[in-house]
């Protein structure tokens, strides 16, 4: 109930106005939304590229964070970033249960991700990316990230 009404509110607001660089692609129901994101500055790692994000909401949203991943398809790649695994899984503290706040919302998460890319100049994946991507069978919700690097 909380999730339904709150997501309807967010959707209304996003249909009326959305932060620069963001486009709502799909929000047919209140469990899974797709948004496209562009980085607004001229960071050479990401200029001219559009990245696709998938949000998945549980019934407990916004008490629990949404699960957010980058999506790879024919037109979209996974952005290179030391906190983004090549399968699209994102290591960002505000998306973790322990640092999430219900004052966050879909738009604010997108803006955080935008600034995470804007501030990055490393053309690399997280350490252990290959093993993680090969071996991971868990969904983002069930992964306990260890947040050690506050510099990026």
């Amino acid at each position: 109930m909380l999730a339904t009404r709150r997501l309807q509110k967010e959707l209304q607001k996003m249909h009326a106005q959305l932060a620069p660089g963001l486009t709502l692609v799909k929000a047919e129901d209140l469990t899974e939304w797709v948004l496209d994101m562009r980085v607004l500055d001229d960071n050479p790692l990401y200029t001219g590229k559009t990245f696709r994000l998938k949000f998945m909401f549980s019934q407990k949203y916004p008490i629990e964070p949404p699960e957010v991943i980058f999506v790879q398809d024919a037109e979209h790649t996974i952005p290179m970033h030391p906190h983004i695994y090549s399968n699209g899984i994102i290591c960002l503290n505000i998306l973790d249960k322990e640092a999430w706040s219900p004052a966050q919302n879909v738009e604010s998460v997108c803006i955080s991700l935008q600034s995470m890319l804007t501030g990055n100049d490393k053309n690399e994946r997280p350490p252990g990316d290959e093993e993680f991507v090969r071996g991971n069978t868990r969904r983002p919700r069930d992964i306990n990230f260890y947040f050690h690097d506050n510099a990026v």
């Binding site: 339904t4 219900p102 004052a103």
Partner: protein, 90 residues
């Protein structure tokens, strides 16, 4: 002249003593509306102020504070959530 009033219909409006178009940071509904579970605004769906000066529908902040991951902190500023007052009606 003498007027005899036979009947009248009184109409009253109320609102919380809060900025008009502000919304609860948890459910995103206006303060004057209800939390997402209640049907009727007013005394049955009150607002609470925290010591940190943030305000939520009582039912919304209770759900958050009961969640283990809230660590008892305000969603807006992450200070410890302590109730100072119920919001009065204007």
């Amino acid at each position: 002249m003498k007027v005899n009033i036979k009947s009248w219909t009184a109409v009253a409006a109320w609102r919380w003593d809060m900025p008009e178009d502000d919304v609860c940071g948890i459910c995103r509904s206006p303060y004057d509306s209800t939390c997402s579970k209640c049907k009727y605004p007013g005394d049955e769906c009150p607002l609470l102020w925290g010591e940190c000066n943030h305000c939520f529908h009582a039912h919304c902040i209770f759900v958050w504070i009961r969640a283990e991951t809230s660590h008892g902190r305000c969603p807006m500023c992450r200070q410890e959530w302590k109730i100072v007052a119920k919001v009065s009606q204007d």
